[in-house]
């Protein structure tokens, strides 16, 4: 009988003790995954003209860009003409670039820059090489 009472008392003690422990279990892994978005910015660029595309970095990280193609707007024939690519911040009716580079069409990364989280823009402009309007495609990735 005493043994039964002992067991019952211990059971009661454990039940009352268990209700006080409401501390959630911490996740065993705290690693984060950085995701990137890939954007293709395509359009028509007039002689002496410029276009820009705004994007938002959800977190700081690398932005890479390449001028994938340039072709005659009318002929659709590929052109090897270089264009100016720049990265900056939207301001007024344009994109105030802080980094620019003259690049020729290619499928390798041609510009890499590390940016903080926030809103930025990628600008494509005629650097004085165009003689006719062209169609362009710029591919870039950002966090």
């Amino acid at each position: 009988m005493r043994a039964g009472s002992l067991v019952a008392t211990l059971a009661l003690a454990f039940v009352t003790a268990a209700c006080g422990d409401d501390t959630p279990t911490s996740p065993s892994s705290s690693s984060t995954t950085t995701s990137t978005s890939t954007v293709t910015f395509a359009g028509t660029l007039s002689v002496g003209g410029a276009r820009f595309y705004s994007f938002t970095n959800l977190e700081s990280g690398s932005v890479t860009a390449l001028l994938a193609s340039v072709a005659g707007a009318d002929t659709r024939l590929p052109l090897a003409v270089p264009l100016e690519i720049g990265i900056g911040i939207p301001a007024g009716t344009g994109c105030a670039t802080s980094l620019t580079q003259l690049v020729s069409p290619g499928l390798l990364s041609q510009m890499t820059v590390t940016l903080a989280a926030g809103t930025f823009c990628l600008r494509v402009a005629d650097a004085g090489e165009l003689r006719v309007p062209v169609s362009f495609a710029v591919r870039f990735t950002h966090p």
């Binding site: 008392t9 009661l12 003790a17 006080g20 409401d22 301001a91 007024g92 009716t93």
Partner: protein, 204 residues
């Protein structure tokens, strides 16, 4: 404050020698005790000479009673001792008044739109006013769409909009955190010709 209690129980049976040397004989059957009667479990009804096994059970019963009382008193006391926040600083940001006024002078085509980007450097109030609309064949009282948002792609993604005619009073206002924003103007279906407009944007 969370309380955790750890109880170690020695539930191994008494040694063989105890069984052999100390058989327990009770002159009266022990009364059955409920689990709630923790305190009563430790009481000895009749003083008598105890065998070693009896002394063991008596000591175990006393220990159990003490544990029961201590656990009951400490296990469920979280509600009365809430943890104070470690950060007691104010979370209400200061709202700055506009210190910079920018003029967005542009044109909007029939069914078209235009936008203007600006940077807010500190949390504060942004006021947008469609100050003037004109142009050949465009009445100055024509209504246009006016919005505030964030630059996205090749346009301005608006989050606050209003349809309005030009006037001196502020048409859109709001509190915005530091960042890049834009004001967008567009034809809501009233234009028959290209309209010229002036929009003032006051921001911190």
């Amino acid at each position: 404050m969370n309380s955790k209690a750890t109880v170690e129980i020695d539930d191994s049976p008494p040694s063989r020698s105890d069984h052999q040397r100390a058989p327990v004989h009770r002159s009266h059957p022990a009364p059955r005790k409920s689990p709630q009667a923790c305190v009563a479990a430790s009481r000895t009804d009749t003083p008598r000479r105890l065998t070693p096994a009896g002394r063991f059970l008596r000591a175990a019963s006393l220990m159990t009673t003490v544990l029961c009382l201590s656990l009951t008193a400490t296990a469920c006391d979280d509600a009365s001792t809430a943890t104070s926040p470690s950060d007691t600083s104010s979370t209400t940001p200061t709202v700055a008044t506009p210190t910079i006024t920018e003029l967005f002078a542009g044109r909007v085509n029939v069914s078209g739109s235009a936008f203007y980007s600006f940077s807010v450097v500190e949390n504060g109030t942004v006021n947008v006013t469609l100050a003037e609309v004109g142009g050949a064949g465009v009445p100055s009282t024509v209504w246009l769409g006016l919005g505030i948002g964030t630059p996205s792609g090749e346009d301005c993604f608006t989050t606050a909009t209003v349809n309005t005619a030009a006037g001196a009073a502020v048409h859109l206002t709001g509190t915005y955190a530091p960042g890049v924003y834009c004001v967008r103007v567009w034809d809501i279906g009233n234009l028959a010709a290209v309209a010229a407009f002036n929009v003032t944007i006051a921001h911190p």
